[in-house]
């Protein structure tokens, strides 16, 4: 394989307790720690392992986001990506815009494999992989927990409710990484310095001529309701009646 494209999204770090702005216009980002979306780290780790096995030549990390997302791309370069592309875009991004933008990059770069995270931990949309597959007209496998390359096909194990499912797809294809696919490596100190010298192209979103569907508008944000305290029930009968009272069974 010549090239793997990996999506890298800048998100609020998973350790941060998210707070909604007092005017409900969004979440507080001021001074908040931002990181690479954890599933994207897993996606990149998988690409690195494929390359280290000699089954791919180049890894390109791509992010769509504000100028500051260069920091996350530098992290990706320090982990081992060969080069990076930032599509500069400020403000809200809806899944179809993300997919179309990725499609524009795919057309330019012509990768044989695209690996994305199964979802971004900020919006939790989990749609980019599927939409990109449709736009690209190439096979998809979501929620991968094991990836094997067999010549021109890809054998992917995915976690489904019933257990594990194995799919084989032809390359080029797009897959999304699940939690148990691998454990991302720690960055080596010398690689942080090397990453500074790797190419990072900044592309203006407007220059890609992606039609923005504008199907979604965020009206307001609010924190989830605090969980109500649990109640102890005596026996199964009481449990059933409690569930019935709540209209749950």
């Amino acid at each position: 394989m010549r090239k793997i494209l990996v999506g890298i999204k800048r998100v609020v770090d998973y350790n941060v307790r998210i707070r909604v702005k007092p005017d409900n216009s969004g979440v507080v980002l001021d001074g908040v720690k931002m990181s690479v979306n954890p599933f994207d780290e897993i996606a990149l780790e998988e690409a690195l392992r494929i390359r280290e096995r000699g089954e791919a030549e180049e890894i390109v990390a791509v992010s769509i986001g504000p100028d500051d997302a260069q920091q996350q791309l530098r992290t990706a370069l320090a982990m081992g990506a060969d080069r990076a592309i930032l599509v500069k875009h400020d403000g809200m991004l809806e899944p179809l815009t993300v997919a179309k933008t990725l499609m524009a990059i795919v057309s330019r770069e012509q990768p044989e494999l695209v690996i994305l995270g199964k979802q971004a931990i900020d919006d939790d949309n989990s749609q980019a992989t599927q939409m990109l597959s449709a736009l690209w007209d190439r096979p998809q496998v979501t929620c991968a927990s094991k990836v094997e390359i067999k010549g021109n096909t890809l054998s992917v194990v995915r976690e489904v409710d019933a257990g594990l499912e194995t799919l084989e797809v032809d390359l080029p294809a797009v897959i999304s990484a699940d939690l148990r696919l691998n454990e991302p490596r720690y960055v080596k100190l010398p690689d942080i310095m090397k990453a500074k010298k790797k190419p990072l192209d900044v592309v203006e979103f407007a220059s890609l001529n992606v039609a923005t569907p504008g199907q979604l508008t965020a009206t307001h944000y609010e924190p989830p309701k605090a969980r109500a305290k649990g109640v102890m029930v005596k026996d199964v009968a009481e449990l059933i009646s409690a569930l019935k009272n709540k209209g749950l069974v």
């Binding site: 320090a78 720690y186 960055v187 100190l189 010398p190 942080i192 310095m193």
Partner: protein
């Protein structure tokens, strides 16, 4: 059990906003180490400290290092972490690229250094001592010694120790008995015989080889410290065992994960480092480094104490606020509402973050000192570092004794229980006030050597520098702190003159005043640090960013001024009271 969370935001505040490290480095011609690079190093170091090192802290405490028939055992995880640390390039972070290191200036690595110590102090001592050995070799070793060892120390395949202490020779190194003799068989070589005690990481299996830097006496050398030479003694030479054995490993109060070894040298093959009888001079080079490193341990432990206490105080529900219930409709409020708990938490916080402000500043000065140019600022920075080292070492470790004790107190009974994990911090902290020169010796170094050096001019120039912060316009919130600082800088001057005059007629006055004088300096330096931090925070508040973070800084600066600075009055009064009452034989007769 609390896991370690690297205080990234506070470290960034100190490094970027208060000290402007990236700009300072650019001025030193290191513009490649820019703001984002410093943050990237910090972030990857934090992941390593939190993910790999943090679990080792309690494990090492509960599974102490032990002696097993000549072999020293530590938990397996220590070895795995050592390998990961070294292959990640962290062991060579400061070392010159010609030896395989990254050559990063101190300002770019101080945060990760703190994280590694804070996450797993006992484990970190092994690579910390190796750093010290590496620096001593680079400064004083022969080309052959450097080429033959330093690259292995950088890669972590070898580690290093410092062997000074003997049963009858601790503080007073002049009493040392370990002997060196010229090796009659191999010219230019020596043989070492004797017993060293309390040698940290003297023997272990983390690395393939260990190089011991050993102080010993050559025949016919002058008595006392002028007759001590420094030797390089490898555990193995070309894979063959040298005459070095570990006789036992101590059972001790804290840092259980760090093997504290009795080391026996029997005609061990050695080479001389530096000049004959120049051993102590060689040691002095690394002393600043090592003593600041112990100050860093104090800070690292204070940070753990603060993290645990602030978390617990928000979760533990006991009693009601006297003014307004924080959790109406429940049976109790979190203990953070109680004034006395807040006293403890704010004492913890102001000492911890104040220690960070001060220590990182001294490290910035050290970068300047080591920059290699001959600019007057570099020379001056070196003089200030020398003056500040004993203060930082003793004040930050004494503070750690207070913070780790307070953290237990905030936890109540739970703090005393081993499973909570907080009492370990106190047990680990005690040694920091003892090794690398006890805190009493630091105080003597300050009043006996540093204060009088260069006719007292070092303190003069330092006081001028500290006074600069008072030139800036001061918002009302920080006015009380600024006013107190102005008074304290004057008092510092007056106190020093008083002390030197008293000592001119009675040398015991220095020793009698040392600890209190040092504490006075420490609290005053923290006042200066907090004023700097407060001014930065007030300016940021004007621009409306992160109001909670910056308002917190201003509030802690105010607490420090009003509730901790009064301690300076007591210390100054004790200094002025003089030696008479303590040197009266009646007080300790019999």
């Amino acid at each position: 059990m609390y896991s370690y969370q690297a205080p990234r935001r506070d470290m960034q505040f100190v490094i970027h906003e208060v000290l402007g490290c990236a700009q300072a480095l650019a001025k030193m011609g290191r513009s490649e180490v820019d703001h984002d690079t410093i943050n990237a190093i910090m972030e990857e170091g934090a992941k390593f400290a939190e993910g790999v090192l943090s679990p080792l802290n309690a494990e090492g405490d509960q599974t102490p290092a032990y002696w097993d028939n000549g072999v020293v055992r530590v938990p397996d995880s220590f070895k795995t972490a050592h390998q990961q640390f070294c292959s990640g390039g962290w062991s060579g972070i400061g070392a010159d690229p010609q030896y395989g290191g990254q050559g990063l200036p101190i300002q770019a690595r101080v945060a990760t250094d703190e994280m590694f110590v804070s996450a797993a102090m006992a484990w970190r001592m092994c690579t910390g001592l190796t750093d010290g050995a590496m620096q001593t070799l680079i400064s004083h070793g022969s080309a052959e010694q450097i080429q033959g060892t330093v690259p292995h120390l950088v890669s972590g395949v070898w580690t290093g120790t410092m062997c000074l202490t003997e049963p009858h020779s601790g503080t007073d190194l002049g009493l040392m008995r370990t002997r060196a003799a010229v090796d009659t068989q191999s010219p230019g070589q020596y043989r070492i015989s004797g017993t060293k005690i309390y040698i940290s990481w003297g023997e272990h299996e983390l690395s393939e080889n260990i190089v011991h830097l050993v102080l010993a006496k050559l025949p016919d050398s002058p008595a006392g410290t002028r007759g001590i030479s420094l030797f390089l003694v490898p555990k193995k030479i070309d894979g063959q065992a040298n005459g070095v054995r570990c006789l036992s490993v101590e059972h001790k109060m804290g840092i259980h994960g760090s093997p504290t070894c009795v080391m026996q040298f029997d005609e061990a093959k050695a080479t001389l480092i530096g000049q004959v009888n120049g051993g102590l001079a060689c040691m002095f080079t690394m002393m600043n480094h090592a003593r600041l490193g112990v100050g860093l341990q104090g800070l690292g432990l204070s940070e753990r104490a603060w993290q645990a206490a602030s978390q617990y105080a928000r979760d533990r529900l006991q009693g009601r606020s006297m003014t307004q219930a924080a959790l109406p409709g429940t049976s109790a409020d979190p203990i953070i509402v109680h004034p006395d708990v807040r006293r403890m938490l704010l004492t913890l916080r102001s000492l911890t973050e104040g220690s960070r402000l001060l220590l990182y500043y001294v490290y910035q000065l050290q970068d300047r000192e080591l920059s290699g140019d001959s600019a007057p600022e570099s020379t001056r920075a070196g003089e200030w570092v020398a003056f500040l080292v004993p203060i930082v070492k003793a004040f930050l470790t004494d503070s750690a004794m207070e913070t780790t004790s307070l953290a237990i107190q905030v936890h109540g009974g739970a703090g005393f229980i081993r499973a909570t994990g907080v009492e370990q911090y106190l047990r680990d902290a005690k040694i920091t006030a003892i090794y690398e020169g006890t805190n009493g010796i630091q105080a003597l170094d300050l009043v006996g050597r540093k204060l009088a050096a260069n006719g007292g001019r070092i303190l003069q120039s330092l006081l001028l520098e500290l006074g600069q912060v008072l030139q800036a316009p001061c918002p009302p919130s920080l006015q009380p702190l600024a006013t107190r600082l102005a008074e304290l800088l004057q008092e510092w001057q007056a106190l020093s003159v008083h002390l030197l005059q008293a000592a001119a007629t009675n040398p015991d006055e220095l020793g009698a005043a040392g600890a209190d004088y040092l504490a006075f300096c420490g609290y005053t330096l923290l006042a200066w640090s907090w004023l700097r931090a407060g001014l930065v925070a007030e300016a940021a508040l004007q621009s409306g960013q992160e109001p909670e973070f910056y308002a917190g800084k201003v509030a802690v600066a105010r607490f420090y001024a009003q509730r901790l600075l009064p301690r300076t009055l007591a210390h100054a009064a004790a200094v002025r009271a003089g030696a008479a009452s303590m040197m009266d034989p009646a007080g300790l007769a019999g």
